[in-house]
């Protein structure tokens, strides 16, 4: 082939393919938008602005409030100490920072003009009222499986919140990622609306995969940010990599297949059990959301998590840390850690109750990534104060007294002592913490 023809082919063929993909993506969006919606389950539509208020069914309202708690809407949509569901909370992602929307019934800046159908379209299809495609930072990739009845209950609950007027900041995304067409193509490859009725048949699975949207943290993502094997819950980074949400399929990381039903339920609702403590972002989830689980729902979630197929992670041979680092780690441990965590990493009890966790055989210590251990070591942590565990003991922020090298040393040492076999930690790992 002549050089000119070759050049023409190299330019024309990819462009034609891209154009075909874009056309297909938008055609699909048009088709999705044209499909009939599941019918509303509400007997009367809540009032539009400037109309007299309609009476609200108390059962539906209570169900909506409960779902909002279990789904942890406030986790993204309520700023700390701020007005309920008024949005504006930043979510950092590898593609930029997005800001949650105002879900209060303000007519201009919130959902005041939205109907129950509009809300269902957002949850089920990821489309805004004005037809804009929504970013999957709003996890409609999980919420798509919600039933129409649950969507309507949430809608009713949101409508009766106090309206708060306030524009939230615009998302700060790049040129390509901020383009609706990119989103349409992404959805072509990575989003399929799910049927609510079938996913709700198994309550535990519905709570984990849909309402609880656990996969949004606990499942891995591909290079364009789409979840890979969401139901498998194989582990993923939270946000831009500050915490690691462990695999719930791997018993060596976060899997609870060998726990008893009571232990899992206790952990979910109180954030604490003799098997482990919820710290970091999971403590937030327990405190804001899971502690409100009804007993039957806690049982269903526990049963689903315990029945996840075991998928052991691939672990290569562990390289021992250099002995000077281990020596430094031992000295640091003997000065700062031993009084709480014991001379053999066995933890300590008070009045027969375990208080300071063992480090020996502790999965949080030996995760493949040392990130969570370093977060807790450097910044300290308290378990959530919940009705089941109201006065937690705390881990001090050791960055105030230890250098980065000392923190790396003690982290390496606890990860490679007392039968623990995990990778060593470098000073760079510590410096990478925010």
């Amino acid at each position: 082939m002549s050089a000119r023809r070759w050049l023409a082919t190299m330019l024309v063929v990819p462009t034609a393919l891209a154009a075909a993909m874009v056309a297909t993506a938008w055609a699909r969006e048009a088709w999705l938008a044209s499909r009939p919606l599941a019918p509303s389950t509400l007997s009367s539509q809540p009032a539009q602005p400037a109309q007299p208020a309609q009476p609200v069914d108390a059962t539906v309202l209570a169900r909506g409030a409960y779902l909002a708690r279990i789904g942890n809407c406030a986790g993204c949509h309520t700023a700390r100490g701020g007005p309920a569901m008024a949005g504006g909370v930043p979510l950092a992602t590898p593609f930029g920072t997005l800001y949650s929307s105002n879900l209060t019934p303000d007519p201009d800046t919130g959902l005041g003009r939205w109907s129950a159908d509009d809300f269902w379209r957002a949850l089920h299809l990821g489309r805004s009222r004005d037809g804009r495609l929504l970013y999957p930072a709003f996890p409609y990739t999980s919420f798509t499986g919600m039933t129409r009845a649950d969507s309507d209950a949430l809608y009713v609950w949101l409508r009766q919140l106090p309206a708060r007027r306030g524009e939230v900041p615009a998302h700060s995304l790049g040129l390509l990622t901020g383009w609706q067409t990119s989103l349409a193509v992404w959805r072509l490859w990575n989003f399929v609306p799910m049927d609510g009725a079938s996913s709700a048949a198994d309550r535990g699975r519905y709570l984990v995969e849909v309402v609880g949207h656990c996969a949004e943290c606990h499942a891995p993502r591909n290079r364009v940010g789409a979840l890979r094997d969401a139901p498998g819950l194989g582990g993923g980074w939270v946000g831009i990599g500050e915490w690691w949400a462990p695999s719930l399929a791997d018993p060596a990381e976060g899997g609870v297949q060998s726990w008893s039903d009571a232990e899992v339920r206790e952990w979910l609702t109180s954030g604490w059990s003799s098997r482990g403590v919820a710290l970091g972002p999971m403590a937030d989830v327990v405190a804001d959301s899971l502690r409100h689980l009804a007993p039957s729902d806690a049982r269903a979630m526990a049963q689903h998590l315990r029945s996840l197929p075991v998928v052991a992670g691939k672990r290569g041979p562990v390289k021992p840390a250099p002995s000077p680092q281990i020596e430094l780690g031992r000295r640091v441990y003997a000065t700062h850690c031993i009084d709480c965590h014991g001379d053999r990493g066995q933890g300590r009890s008070v009045d027969g109750q375990p208080v300071y966790p063992a480090l020996a055989g502790n999965r949080a210590v030996t995760q493949a990534s040392a990130r969570n251990l370093l977060q807790v070591l450097a910044n300290g942590a308290y378990a959530a104060a919940t009705p089941g565990h109201p006065r937690p003991y705390g881990m001090p922020p050791m960055r105030q007294v230890l250098s980065a090298a000392e923190m790396a040393a003690v982290a390496s040492m606890v990860r490679q002592s007392w039968g623990n076999e995990a990778s060593a930690v470098t000073e760079q790992d510590v410096l990478r913490l925010r």
């Binding site: 937030d284 002995s323 009084d339 053999r344 308290y382 104060a385």
Partner: protein, 254 residues
């Protein structure tokens, strides 16, 4: 040099003690690797006794705040002991809820209930610990005059009440919720007043200290901070009073 070394090594590994040397090397490596997994900490003293009480639960706080407050390269961690319990509760809530931005504090407090914060505040408020000696804060006579005027009389023209009207005649605070201002470093006081001026530090609305801090001039902020840092602390917190405060203050109402 290298040839000599090589010849020496060859003689060692082939000589009469070669097997012993090889064994020593292998054992040495094993010991180095084994040390990592052996008994990690050789400590002869008994471990600190643990008690099921609030003092043990706040060990994570005292590491930074110490008995008398602590200055570090990361900033100053103010004294908690003896501060009015209501003030401490409000500050814990302010850190938890983002009115006082501080990543480390809000991370630790994020999931604490109000009841637990009240218990923690009550523990520190009840501590009776000595104060450190005050350091010379470089107070000029002009600073002294300016500061004493504001502290004792305020400024009617700017509607600034006297500091003592809320913080107590000896500036050691008033129960239940107004803190004492003695025994704190000058830089910390300047920093906090500055944070109110810039909106970085906030309190429950209406935020009276923000209004006051914004009405002061920078020279006055410096003078007042230097004067406060030079006063000897240790007088007790004044008891609660039924008299209304000269200004409404969200952080002082229960």
């Amino acid at each position: 040099m290298r040839r000599t070394m090589r010849r020496m090594m060859r003689r060692m590994m082939r000589g009469p003690f070669a097997s012993a040397i090889r064994r020593a090397i292998v054992l040495g490596m094993a010991a180095a690797l084994g040390a990592a997994s052996a008994h990690a900490a050789d400590v002869d003293r008994p471990l600190r006794p643990l008690v099921n009480d609030i003092a043990e639960r706040v060990q994570a706080c005292t590491l930074c705040h110490g008995a008398q407050g602590r200055a570090t390269p990361e900033g100053y961690f103010p004294r908690l002991a003896g501060k009015p319990a209501g003030y401490l509760v409000h500050q814990l809530q302010n850190f938890r809820d983002g009115r006082r931005p501080h990543a480390l504090m809000s991370g630790l407090l994020r999931n604490m209930s109000d009841d637990y914060l009240v218990e923690i505040a009550g523990y520190f408020a009840a501590l009776d610990l000595p104060y450190p000696a005050t350091a010379d804060a470089g107070l000029s006579s002009q600073d002294r005059r300016m500061a004493e005027q504001l502290v004792r009389q305020g400024d009617a023209a700017r509607r600034l009440p006297a500091c003592v009207a809320c913080h107590g005649a000896a500036m050691t605070g008033r129960q239940p919720a107004v803190p004492g201002l003695l025994g704190l470093p000058r830089d910390y006081l300047v920093g906090q007043l500055g944070a109110w001026r810039s909106g970085q530090r906030r309190a429950h609305a209406p935020d009276c200290m923000a209004d006051i801090a914004k009405a002061l001039t920078p020279a006055e902020v410096g003078a007042v901070a230097r004067w406060l840092a030079a006063q000897p602390p240790g007088a007790p917190v004044e008891p609660a009073s039924t008299e209304p405060l000269p200004i409404t203050c969200g952080g002082v109402s229960p």
